[in-house]
Symmetry: C2
Subunit: 419 residues, 2 copies
């Protein structure tokens, strides 16, 4: 049963679809008697079905031609499923330990069949709210980011491969525009989509809109986001795009993927960890004051950058005589120069990371889409206090990012930003 | 007579081709009796035919599937004619005064029919060698660069238009790779293609290859060239790509066009004027010591940047409420912030211009393709002295570009670089 045009599947047509698709039906041993099907998507952005049979399981994700955001309906190309699928395959090929395998893709139907990230995996953001430590998180995420970013950059790739891939992902323009709007524009102007913990943060939101230096720096970050095709980035690497257990870390939902600045991914992850940090005081109770957990978050932030730095430069050393065209061995083949080059590159990447991370924090406090870390703090005044601390730190990080020389200084700034 | 596959035209088949192509035959009133046809291309890169009839004229340029460089034959896609044609049309639409009109394009035949830039137009480089002043050159080139660069950037364009165009020009990857090699790589390593005025500059060429700081900075410029899709640049805007009379300036040959950093175009033009400046001492004789002409070149460099700055920011002011997505009016609509934004943007562009301009100078002295400005100085020791001054200045500009705050300081450095 090949569908010649797009139509949203329901539980019944889904089974017909699976039966007609060998790459899916084989996963459940072609047995349909005890098949369990569960719809788990929020129903607004995508349909997500979990299919569990006697001998195996998988997930079906189907994109709908719109996104819904705070009750507002925005049309949004279902072609994003195509970019999600090719990003999953590309990143999965580079880092299979941390990216779910794609079993099937149907462009007409905007439908991906992929590995079911089974329980006890949960969304990292929920784990952070619950105060659960993930001892391998920094190790895994730095591994994922180092491999996917390094191997899709010109340090590793040829210009020919790079330009072909850049051109292809230019097609994901609608999702890029969405990011431009919600991350780099709306928080800095009056927008019907913006919201914040009112009235507590009314003045803070206004201050963001009237901060000329902040807006000057955001413009620079936006230009970099729009113009700099540095690597194939995930494009939405917050803690809601990561599923975890103590031993496993899986990165999902790269529908915003395109060739952009690496710091946007690293910053998204670290920025969302900082948000989680500042939300902890709102989750503290008599049983758990969250102090030890906050230390663990800080250590995870520090380890993430340090391990990323280590793994990224190790990949670079390993492939310095490869086919990457950015730094030809015949020019950069002496150890001192190689060291200088890497220091310069990593310094700029660090500052990009802080800038983009801060921009992602700000937009979660005064922009359209908020994070459950704060939203789940029921008392508005407490929530506002947590958010204000995060917002103030983010503004400092964004405006003064060039002054930070190490992740240790960032940790120090986070610690001092607490009330 | 439509050609279903590529074949190089000769004078005879050219006439058949014109007869079968109304957009061309109409230019000469469909009259073939007194047709004058002259092949003027160098025969290595492209065939270029001038066709002059009783009632009109045009040029036919046909790309061949290779380039030839100092006797070495490099395969090179003839698809470059396609990118030349669409760049001519795009830039011509934005600045018709300074770009020849395209009458006809045939992708299969890699063939462009366009306006014949008639005598007394000559190639600017030849005018500079002959010591001819062009009083409108700075005015015209700043106009061309301001319009073409501004109007293809995100300050003027929407993200949707931008990404579509970026993707299309990613197809011109072979020409981009050629630039990467000859501008950013070969001069900094041992390469069979490099040459210089030997033995005089043997040490200077070696010094370039062993200058770690220079190579560190060149790497940054190369990354920007490869990754930053800032505007549709000409890609080869040296003084050999410009035809001039006292009153007219026409920019030709944009076959290297793609979405890259604006400073690469401005730098190419200014860098080649600086080369022309340092070549003057080699052209001085008892009749003309070239002192006044050197002053004119310096003034043209200064005026070019200052007028470009003025025209570019004027376009920006004029279109600040337009559909450009980089600086939304709702965020940047106050005069002080608008001023801050422009200052920051123009400062970075100025430094890019100096860096790329310097890289273009260096490659003309120790890389594969040299300039007639120097090559026409017959006495090797004199030529080497001129080249060394230019090379030393270029190294300073490239390494210390961030320290230059105005074009006046650059003029000052040029003046002091003379022996």
């Amino acid at each position: 049963m090949a569908f010649s045009e797009f139509r949203p599947l329901n539980e019944k047509s889904l089974v017909e679809y699976i039966k007609a698709t060998p790459s899916l039906s084989s996963k459940i041993g072609d047995k349909y008697d005890d098949l369990k099907i569960k719809e788990v998507g929020d129903g607004n952005l995508n349909f997500v079905y979990i299919i569990v049979g006697a001998s195996g399981s998988f997930v079906i994700k189907q994109a709908l031609p719109y996104i819904r955001c705070i009750g507002e309906s925005w049309p949004m190309t279902k072609e994003r499923a195509y970019f999600e699928a090719i990003a999953l395959k590309e990143h999965g090929g580079l880092c299979p330990q941390h990216v779910p395998e794609v079993y099937h893709f149907d462009r007409t139907m905007s439908l991906i069949g992929m590995r079911y990230i089974e329980p006890p995996h949960i969304i990292l953001r929920k784990g952070l709210i619950a105060g659960i430590e993930y001892p391998l998180l920094a190790e895994h995420m730095s591994e994922y980011m180092a491999k996917t970013l390094f191997c899709t950059s010109l340090i590793y790739r040829s210009t020919t491969e790079h330009k072909r891939a850049v051109a292809e992902f230019c097609g994901n323009v609608e999702l890029c525009r969405l990011t431009e709007q919600v991350v780099f524009s709306d928080p800095y102007k009056v927008s019907e989509y913006n919201r914040w913990t009112s009235p507590y943060l009314d003045h803070d939101a206004l201050a963001v809109r009237e901060d000329d230096i902040l807006k000057l720096e955001v413009a620079e970050l936006k230009s970099k986001f729009c113009e700099r095709a540095q690597a194939l980035i995930h494009g939405d690497l917050h803690t809601g795009s990561i599923m975890v257990t103590r031993d496993s870390t899986q990165v999902i939902d790269p529908e915003f993927a395109f060739y952009g600045p690496m710091g946007f991914d690293i910053g998204a992850f670290i920025g969302n960890l900082i948000l989680a940090f500042f939300a902890q005081d709102g989750h503290a109770d008599q049983v758990n004051d969250r102090k030890i957990y906050k230390e663990w978050i800080l250590k995870t932030i520090e380890d993430t950058w340090n391990l990323f730095h280590q793994k990224f430069t190790a990949l670079w050393d390993q492939h310095k005589d490869g086919s990457g065209e950015a730094y030809l061995p015949a020019i950069y083949n002496n150890p001192e120069l190689q060291k200088l080059i890497q220091e310069k590159y990593m310094k700029e990447l660090f500052h990009d990371t802080l800038g983009f991370g801060a921009a992602k924090m700000i937009r979660r406090i005064v922009g359209v889409a908020h994070v459950e870390d704060f939203e789940s703090i029921r008392e508005a005044s407490i929530r506002a206090d947590c958010e204000r601390q995060a917002l103030e730190l983010a503004k400092t990080l964004l405006k003064k990012r060039q002054e930070f020389l190490s992740i240790g200084e960032v940790i120090s700034a986070i610690t001092h930003a607490q009330l």
